[in-house]
Symmetry: C2
Subunit: 339 residues, 2 copies
C-alpha cells in the first residue's frame, strides 16, 4: 500500500495535525512514459500552508480540496520505469512529496515552476542537501540575494526567519559576500543559534519592538530586506530602509495561517525614499541552479556554511513535521525521512 498525507479539513487559523490525515491507497501504476518513485526524503516547506485555505492568492497554485494529497518537493528512487530516460535505482527530485510512492512523468505536476523529475548525481554528498542548500532552499536564498536584491558588499541587509531553511542560507551567503547582515528569529534559542553558530548579528522579533531592535543593530538604517515573514516585519523594513533601498519578497509566513493581514500601512514611504520591492519564486530562476550549486557546495565543502536539519522519521511524522515547522519549532531545513 501507499500512504499519502491528505487534507482532512480546512484548518481554522493555526494548522493542527488533525487537519491532516494519512490515507492508504494501492501503490500507483506508472503509465507509458512514467516512472514509479519510492520517496526517501520529503521537503517540509511553509508555502504548502497557502494551498490549505479555501482560496489562494491570484497567480498562485489552486487550493487543495479536502481529500487531496499534499504536494511538495521530494527525493526518491526509481522503483519501476516506463521511460527510457530513467533507470531503476535512479535518484530523482520531483514535486509529489507527502507520500511514500509517486508516479511521475515527463509532464509531471509542477510546483513553483519546478518541472519534470530531475535525476540527481549527489557526487557523494548527502542526498537531502538537494532539497536544502543545493536545492530549492539554496536557489531561493541565492536568487533573492543575487538577482532580486542585487546585494553588494557595501549593503546592510536584514533577513527575517533567519533560522529557517531559506533564511539561514540567505543570511550566511550575504555575509560570505561581504555584506553586513542582521537576522531575526522567533525564540532566544534561535537567536543564540544565529549569533553563536552562524556568526550573524541577530534579534528576537517578539521583544523589544522590531523598530527598536533594528535601530540597535543598524542605527543608520538598512539597504536591503529579505522578507520571509510579511506583516509587521515588512512594515518595519519599509521604515528602516535607506533611500533607494530594496526588498525581496520571498514569503509571508505571518499571513499563511488563513488570515490575510492588511498590507503595510506605510507603503507610501516607497515613494518618499525611492524604494524597490520585488516578489519572486525560485522556480522561475532554474537557469541559475548550477551557479548556485557551485557557490554553495564550495562553501559547504570548506566548512564556511553551517547547515542544520530538523529531521522527522516516517510518513507518520509528516503532519507533525509540517505543523512544528509552521509553529516555528524547527530550525534550519525541515525534512521527513522515509525508510
Amino acid at each position: 500500500m501507499n500512504r499519502r498525507l491528505c487534507l482532512a479539513r480546512r484548518p481554522a487559523g493555526k494548522l493542527s495535525a488533525t487537519d491532516l490525515a494519512l490515507i492508504d491507497e494501492p501503490v500507483p501504476v506508472p503509465g507509458p512514459g512514467e516512472v514509479l518513485v519510492r520517496n526517501t526524503w520529503l521537503s517540509i516547506d511553509p508555502s504548502i500552508r497557502i494551498r490549505l485555505a479555501a482560496t489562494t492568492p491570484d497567480g498562485y497554485l489552486p487550493p487543495l480540496r479536502p481529500g487531496d494529497a499534499l504536494t511538495g518537493l521530494a527525493l526518491g528512487i526509481v522503483a519501476e520505469t516506463r521511460n527510457p530516460d530513467y533507470a531503476l535505482g535512479d535518484l530523482v527530485s520531483h514535486t509529489l512529496g507527502y507520500r511514500e510512492y509517486a508516479v511521475v512523468g515527463t509532464c509531471a505536476q509542477t510546483i513553483g515552476g519546478y518541472g519534470a523529475p530531475a535525476r540527481i548525481d549527489t557526487g557523494g554528498l548527502p542526498p537531502q542537501w538537494f532539497l536544502g542548500p543545493l536545492g530549492s532552499a539554496g536557489l531561493t536564498a541565492y536568487v533573492g540575494l543575487v538577482e532580486i536584491l542585487e546585494l553588494t558588499a557595501a549593503d546592510t541587509v536584514w533577513v527575517s526567519s533567519a533560522a529557517g531553511a531559506v533564511g539561514a542560507l540567505a543570511a550566511q551567503l550575504a555575509a560570505l559576500r561581504g555584506a553586513t547582515v542582521l537576522g531575526s528569529a522567533g525564540s532566544p534559542e534561535k537567536v543564540a543559534y544565529l549569533r553563536d553558530e552562524l556568526g550573524i548579528a541577530a534579534f528576537d522579533y517578539h521583544a523589544p519592538a522590531l523598530a527598536e531592535s533594528l535601530a540597535d543593530l543598524a542605527p543608520t538604517g538598512i539597504d536591503a530586506y529579505f522578507d520571509n515573514v510579511g506583516g509587521d516585519h515588512l512594515t518595519a523594513a519599509l521604515d528602516a530602509l535607506r533611500p533607494a533601498g530594496r526588498i525581496a519578497l520571498c514569503g509571508a509566513v505571518s499571513g499563511y495561517d488563513g488570515s490575510t493581514p492588511p498590507g503595510p500601512p506605510n507603503l507610501f514611504t516607497m515613494v518618499a525614499k525611492g524604494l524597490r520591492m520585488r516578489g519572486f519564486r525560485a522556480g522561475s530562476f532554474t537557469r541559475l541552479q548550477e551557479r548556485m550549486r557551485d557557490e554553495i557546495a564550495d562553501h559547504l565543502a570548506a566548512g564556511r556554511l553551517v547547515h542544520r536539519e530538523s529531521v522527522f522519521d516516517g510518513i507518520e511524522q509528516a503532519a507533525t513535521a509540517l505543523t512544528a515547522m509552521l509553529a516555528g519549532a524547527t530550525t534550519g531545513k525541515t525534512l521527513c525521512r522515509l525508510a
Copy 2:
C-alpha cells in the same frame, strides 16, 4: 506687502479652504547671494497635502506647522538680485510657491529633490508649461514610464488619475510609445475627456467595481500600472497584473486626506506572480530632464499631445485651486496665475 498662503489649522479629513489663510508680510529682502522673485505662476500639486498632516511618511519632507507658508513649485521674475548669476527680469523656477514674492538663494529650500532656482528659456513656449508638461509633471510621467516601468510597445499599461497633470501625460506618452493604455478617472466628464480628446480607453473608478472595469478593457490582464492613487486602485492592479508585471508608485492621493489606509491585502501576489514595485520622485531623476523636454516638446509642437490647464487667477484663489484639485474638480494641470 507680500501675501503668502499659510496653514491655519491641520485639516481633519478633506482639506477645506478655511484650513488655510492668506497672511501678509513685508516683501522679504534678499541677502548676499540671494534674489527676490515675483512669482507669476504657482504649480498646484496634490503632494503638498501630505505636509499638512501632523506627521509625514518616513523619508518625506517634514510636516508644516500651523502658521507656516505652503511651499510648491513656482515660476517668477527676478525683481531684485544680489547674485551675479541672476539678472533682473530673468524667468526662474523654484520651490517657494503659494506666495507673491519669494527670496531664493543658491541653497534654496528644496522640494522633492529640486534644487536651487533654475533660469528658464521658454523658447517662445508658454512659460507655465515649464511647471507642467515640460516641468515637474512631464518629468514625473516620463521617469515613471521610461525608468521605473521600462515600458515597451508590447505592454498594456493602466494609468490612474489619468485626467490629472501627471496621469494625462503618462497615458498619452505611453500611447505615443506604442503601448496599449487604459486610464481611470473619477467622473463621467473626465472619462469622456480621456476617450474623446486624448484617445485613451478609459473608465470611471466609481462604478462598476475596479476589477470589472479592468477586466472589460484588459480581459487578459495588464503588464504595468502607473499608480497615482494607492489604496483600492493598487489592490486592483496587483490582481490584474500578469506575471512579471511592474508597478510605478508615483503618488497615493487616496491616502493624502489625513488617513493612512492599510496597504493592499493582496501583496503576496507579488511573490506568486513575480511582480516588481518601485516608488520614485521626479526630483531624483533631473538628469533625464533634457531628454524628457525634447520628447514632450516635440509631441506638443506636432499637436500629438493634448495639454489642458485648470487656471485660477490671483493668490486669493490659491486655496480654492488646491482644495478643488484635491477634490478631483480640476482636469489636467492645475495652476494659479499671479498678475
